[in-house]
Symmetry: C2
Amino acid sequence: MFKLSKKADYGLIAMKHLANHRQQHACSASEIAEEYGISATLMAKVLQKLARQSLVTAKHGSTGGYQLAKAPEKVSALEVITAIDGPVLITSCVTTHGNCDATERCSIKEPLRRVNESILSVLSTVTIAQLTEETPEPALVELKGMERLAVTG
Amino acid sequence: MFKLSKKADYGLIAMKHLANHRQQHACSASEIAEEYGISATLMAKVLQKLARQSLVTAKHGSTGGYQLAKAPEKVSALEVITAIDGPVLITSCVTTHGNCDATERCSIKEPLRRVNESILSVLSTVTIAQLTEETPEPALVELKGMERLAVTG
DNA sequence: TTTATATCCGACTGATTTGGTCTTACTCTA
DNA sequence: TAGAGTAAGACCAAATCAGTCGGATATAAA
């Protein structure tokens, strides 16, 4: 398939929640989990990963919880996704070091890499602050040559 | 994760191969499979799916094989991918009918749907004909507001 | 200092998906 | 008619993923 893992989903939801409660107290994992009907331990695990990548700060102790480490306008969706799922690579051929077992034979590696970069750009353009239902801007990207093709999906 | 299935990969490779041998005879599944070091039966399966979606035409008999049903400039990568893997949906929340189990609580459904559409646009812009190593155009898409953010990946 | 609360971390399990194979039937060409 | 090839579905094994559990650690309050 071609989709985010549920953990990445939860990560985005959590980040959005923290952004909304930025001014207030730190939010505990169970508090966020309860609000969206997600297992508390699973949400904790997701938040731990985000903390390890310094996207959120964890505060220990009885009044502890999580808070955003940066302003929500400074955090992209891509950062959250890679923090949880690792690097975003659309094909097995396109790895970080750029090789697959059929490097010489595979004829579409380079063009797919470019497609991959385009998708990275889309994801890095979207910030946590923009993840609201009432985003004013309807289109996030404008495609070159879009008039040639209609979106078939 | 966030990547294409190998079958979709193989589908793109096969389509590209058929595009390159367009003028010549029809290519059998085993011929393509051998060239790229892929199992023949697996490649056959992939090609069968493509044939069912009318992306390629199958010719039976001893001189049979597969041929492109349309010009390579008229077939987008998105068509090939959806033919093999089904509809492209980046999150579990974003389904074709548009619901998940936490519809009311989930606060990022609509923005993610827009991100999804952007990715669909990217994939639908790329054609089989463009899947060559020596594509003249370096950038496939141009992003609105890209100057605000650098690609972190 | 003790106790309660909360995060942290790694190991573990069960279910789902996916890559890949095999078998059988069908279709066309020579 | 025989051979080459496709068509289609069942089938298996490996990898991945969602979600859980338990213990360790750090903080705050009594």
